[in-house]
Symmetry: C2
Subunit: 234 residues, 2 copies
């Protein structure tokens, strides 16, 4: 059996674009089938059919079903983490327009990290296969959601330092922010349904309003401390 080429080598020359395309096609198809059927229920033949590739090609690239599964999970995790930090980079820097900026951030968080394909895949697979592959998912937990809390916590601390928020425990506030973002979509998320843009917008707005009611800094004494309530439309 010859050595498998590393991704770097694989991308080096344009010579193997075809091979690389097959690989990606297999990964995508496998993600789809594993997500729908679970590990046990997924058949290599079905993956091959979805990928428009012969079964043998799959075995050329991945020694066995489990190898393929691990590769798929790692692939999705990498994509999901990259997306997570891309979304995190859009967290509001300053406090002008905080409500709107936070709402936009919440929409992107839900839309691109939690309610998307990859989020659905990871939730499903972590739950069903987590116990069978502890270190695989444990590493995701540390690198994905774990770092999300840490990073979000730091971003909230920055806003609090700038007097835009009043927060006693940044980690708790970070987790609560994420939880509130999902509050209205929990059931859809659980059932794997995709919310409409309107639903995303409304959920984010509800979340941010409540978050700011709890953690928003009281406006600098010219108005009452709940002035933002009076500013609500309707």
């Amino acid at each position: 059996m010859k050595d498998r080429m590393t991704p770097a080598v694989r991308m080096a020359g344009h010579s193997q674009r075809g091979q690389c395309a097959k690989r990606l096609s297999i990964l995508d198809a496998a993600a789809d089938v594993f997500c729908r059927q679970g590990f046990a229920g997924a058949s290599i033949d079905e993956i091959a059919a979805v990928a428009c590739v012969s079964r043998q090609t799959i075995y050329n690239h991945y020694r066995e079903k489990e190898t393929l599964f691990v590769a798929v999970v790692e692939d999705v995790m990498n994509r999901a983490n990259a997306m997570l930090f891309s979304v995190l980079s859009g967290f509001p820097e300053n406090a002008d327009n905080l409500e709107d900026d936070l709402t936009g951030f919440a929409v992107r968080l839900n839309k691109n990290c939690i309610c998307n394909h990859d989020g659905k895949f990871l939730r499903k697979l972590v739950q069903t296969e987590g116990e069978r592959y502890p270190h695989l998912f444990e590493s995701w937990r540390r690198q994905g959601p774990g770092k999300l809390t840490t990073a979000l916590s730091a971003l909230l601390a920055r806003l609090a330092h700038g007097r835009a928020l009043v927060i006693d425990d940044f980690d708790v506030a970070a987790r609560q922010f994420v939880a509130l973002c999902n509050a209205d979509l929990q059931m859809m998320t659980l059932f794997g349904e995709t919310p409409s843009d309107e639903q995303l917008e409304k959920a984010a707005r509800n979340a941010v309003r409540t978050f700011l009611k709890a953690y928003g800094a009281p406006p600098a004494d010219k108005a009452g401390p709940r002035a933002h309530l009076a500013a609500l439309p309707g």
Copy 2:
């Protein structure tokens, strides 16, 4: 094939305690195995072994694997719903000691409905098999989580009517309360881990504090509107 007896008939005489015990034993074992392995991964032989029953006995009670699966899911749903409404009945009636009472309620909600065996089972199975049995899980969604929001919303409305809370949208507040309760346990919940009593307590306290910061009624003008912050320990 003879008619299957209804549960009522089954319990009527003491004559069939043995048969009934087998049935329950099969349901429990099947819940365990389906939860660990999913529908496709679960083998009837393993269920029989766990239930200490022969394979044929399972087929005497349930025509085929799918029949057994549906029965298990319905059984767990019924238990979970009963527990849910039992916990709901402990929702605080009046506003003396609201923070502590709500915290106790939040602990019970997490401990007995969300982080327990049945909660884990339902989350897992809804996600993995939900698309294959739409009406089965749809009915649970309406009768379980759906009614939870409705009921909790009404309970919050009662407190708001008694001036203990200030809430604009009761449904949103209900969903947010549940979301906040899980905020600190989300990852453990996802990974199917069971939180300690201490973790449950802390998570509930964090949730209720934030909920009351957002929705607590401002104390009747003797102190500033954020007086409860000053009342925090530390």
